[in-house]
Symmetry: D2
Subunit: 306 residues, 4 copies
Amino acid sequence: MKNNYQQIISSIYSEIVSGENLGEIPNYISELANISDHKFGVAFLDLNNNSFGKGDFQEKFSIQSISKVFSLILVYKNLGEKLWKRVDVEPSGNAFNSLVQLEADNGIPRNPFINAGALVICDIMLEIFENPKNEMLNFIREISQHENINFNTKVASSEEKNGFRNAAMCNYMKSFGNIKNKPEDVLDLYYHICSIEMTCENLSKSCLFLANGGKNPKNNETILSSSKTKRINAIMLTCGFYDESGEFSFRVGLPGKSGVGGGIVALFPYHYCITVWSPKLNLKGNSFRGMKFLEEFTTQTGESIF
Amino acid sequence: MKNNYQQIISSIYSEIVSGENLGEIPNYISELANISDHKFGVAFLDLNNNSFGKGDFQEKFSIQSISKVFSLILVYKNLGEKLWKRVDVEPSGNAFNSLVQLEADNGIPRNPFINAGALVICDIMLEIFENPKNEMLNFIREISQHENINFNTKVASSEEKNGFRNAAMCNYMKSFGNIKNKPEDVLDLYYHICSIEMTCENLSKSCLFLANGGKNPKNNETILSSSKTKRINAIMLTCGFYDESGEFSFRVGLPGKSGVGGGIVALFPYHYCITVWSPKLNLKGNSFRGMKFLEEFTTQTGESIF
Amino acid sequence: MKNNYQQIISSIYSEIVSGENLGEIPNYISELANISDHKFGVAFLDLNNNSFGKGDFQEKFSIQSISKVFSLILVYKNLGEKLWKRVDVEPSGNAFNSLVQLEADNGIPRNPFINAGALVICDIMLEIFENPKNEMLNFIREISQHENINFNTKVASSEEKNGFRNAAMCNYMKSFGNIKNKPEDVLDLYYHICSIEMTCENLSKSCLFLANGGKNPKNNETILSSSKTKRINAIMLTCGFYDESGEFSFRVGLPGKSGVGGGIVALFPYHYCITVWSPKLNLKGNSFRGMKFLEEFTTQTGESIF
Amino acid sequence: MKNNYQQIISSIYSEIVSGENLGEIPNYISELANISDHKFGVAFLDLNNNSFGKGDFQEKFSIQSISKVFSLILVYKNLGEKLWKRVDVEPSGNAFNSLVQLEADNGIPRNPFINAGALVICDIMLEIFENPKNEMLNFIREISQHENINFNTKVASSEEKNGFRNAAMCNYMKSFGNIKNKPEDVLDLYYHICSIEMTCENLSKSCLFLANGGKNPKNNETILSSSKTKRINAIMLTCGFYDESGEFSFRVGLPGKSGVGGGIVALFPYHYCITVWSPKLNLKGNSFRGMKFLEEFTTQTGESIF
């Protein structure tokens, strides 16, 4: 390794764990509200098979919106470029759950990582797969090389119960003709996918192929073409952090994706993948310590895509 | 060179020059409206001093919004991170001249590459420099290693005469207190900077330091710190192409900046800088052939930041 | 009568029936799409018991949004002024089905005559009445002095089947806490109320108390207090015609309410009530011939509230 | 008089003058910021020549936006209905100085009483009058039967100095082609008209013709046709109180117009005109005591247009 990643990770971890832990755990998902706010894990994995973990990196957490990367890839693999007729690839200037933009754009979401876009992806899954829930789990189990990855149906129900804004968006897009299935079926699939639980270690392993031109690092088999992989990484960079995507690109400089469960996965193409988890979120909905860790990490390693 | 860049450029150039030339030359700047739509130039330059040009790459054109990169760098060098109190770094979900966003964000532009943001940058230049026009020219002459770079005052006047939307934005931001100088002075400086004329060759040379960690490739002297350079590149990627930034990132995968004069400069960090010029613009205001050329270029070289 | 209303009505009716019949019958409610576009009825009734009808004034049609006046009155009678914590009384600058405004105002609809506002009224009906559908029918039967007024359940189902935008709004307001019941129950009540069928004659009779300070013209019993009656009339004037309310006030100068079934009811306080029905709608969703008739009517009588 | 207006006015005046005086005097017009917040005047005048004043009803104050009624009438008299191609008559759902709406409607203001609309009216005055300032003063002097009515040039300058938002709007509309003259000339006329000073007594006298079908109550000469008068009154009702027009219509039930100087003029067609002045403004920019007084007045007299 050019960089002594392990030492840098340990040092930043120590510094952050003893520093302030600002932000809030979101309380709108009752099943997640009681998680300990001291949880903090980091898992690093590179293409030379160097791996390193710190803290709670082997504890499962709710990956929430990070799952949007996996459902997008699954649909993109199957549908190809015509996918982009149903969802755009532009960053969204509004908060992640805004309906204003949908009104202006006739029901076409700005990108697949805002909730509206992810709902369209779920709608497409219902069109192209006989059993989309199984397809999703099978795909994640394959890329994570881990059989024991599942939905947390309690979390899914908990979110669905208060998911009126997502129900609004789904119905709204259906009024524009950009949802083909029943809104309740789309929402059910959406909440299940959001409820997937994984560890930091699982996540880094699952995303490493995105840092490898789309090829499985174990056996060099193609999971996603190199052109599509580049495009997924590009969307992660411009749209992966709600209305803080520009800030993440500016401070960290890596493609990545965050979830309201407090996880962030980021990758340096042709080098490594890294996952951080800490449940307290900043005002934009991204992990406070996760953002801080990754900014320090690319600063101290001196490596980023820019 | 890993890639035979010269051959790839020649081949794509030939293909595009014989293909369709869609889009329109914008007619709101009378001085630019009569330019020949057949103009087409490409200039490549890498850190190993390989350079290669095609077509009209040594003909000056109005760089327009590409100049926003240079004024931003000049202010960022001098003011440092407190600059970001006056302008944000998030992509804008609206058209590049929208006032809606300013209303929602109390006069803080989303990023320094939309017109509103560039006006704030000009306002700061008036605060920190005694003679901001000279500072600007001197800086560009230095980084381009070319003495003969100037404003085109006819173009500046031509734009100013019809620049009511920019005048609206400038006054609007002043009503929020985010413009400190007289709107007419800010606008005068803005239009002069937009009117700078350079060749593709000049532009590639001027921006090469951004692909070199901020250091002058000739003498290794620091023009901009490596951290600031990374951040400028990040903003170019997320915000450099108006409301088509996500699309450019997705298709091309390089930091870059376009102008309504038909120019696009893009760079591959630690490798090369490339400039394309063709005056006809697509619906989003970016050079039709320029976008096409660069998409082909990163596809055929197989290189991008992702 | 100061004015020879009967003669004026006949004359305008003849003129309009032989003139152009522009606009469209909305096709999103399949049950209404096939109605003959030649239907045209007018029913006048004043406080001196003068009544006069022309054309299809005794044929039932779907009153659609005109029913929002009745549900509002029913809730206002029962809940009083605290109703206005849940819905505002300001005209809406957007199209009648816009969600943008709800986002800006945290789920409080601008007024009770846009769909969002009427949904909140239905939600309150579910809270305060054991059987809101019966309450509604009983109230209209009472004020129209007509037992045979009913929902058209086919129309209600037809609308509900394609009512994704209303479902979106209802869920969206629920996400802000401004809907207390299940969205599906609120929507079911809403579509039933919209589906009520009445004749022009029924409608003029039903609304005459609004021109009589809230008192039943037959027996002088108070249906609604004079202060509340004034306020209902005021809301009809400022908000009764979607995004054409200013235009109606400007051209006609009477409080009124339109529906997409092609009906318009209008009243001159302390004088008369008049209903016009013609199914083709202008671009703003109001009856083309209805608007024209009423403009001519107040012009020729020289009477309006202004 | 059916009502004992004098006694009702005296009684309400006493009650309000001894009650709370909430709100703020706006501080953005320095010349107006130091006015005593205890000023409180009422002037009533009816078509039977009954007149009655209370408190500071003979003290001049800055009528500000109330002047928009006079400039609108002057232009409407001269230009007729084609005026409405340049400005609409719909209430505005946004705050009175919003630019969002102008973006959506391509530079056509929603109505002539928001600032944008009044700027268009000034632009038209510059087109049709050789000396629009004189025309304005002459017209007001004529209808008020008072020679000593003037601009307050200090107030005009004071507003112009901080009028960046109006300058923004004016330039913005010019970018859409809906301002024909130089923005600085339009703004200069606008601020002069806003700075007109009148007493409550003057204002009631000036507007009484609007309660008389457009005829001068003194000599029965036509100032404005009855049709145009009705339309002016209609616009006052739907648009006269910024984003509180619906509320004023709902509570008071009279056409009227307010200004940030704390004045409100209201009229009951074919009966009377009444003006109230008290400088402290509520959150929507209307006189706190003025609104309260007029609500009490129409409640106690039991008279309104509804």
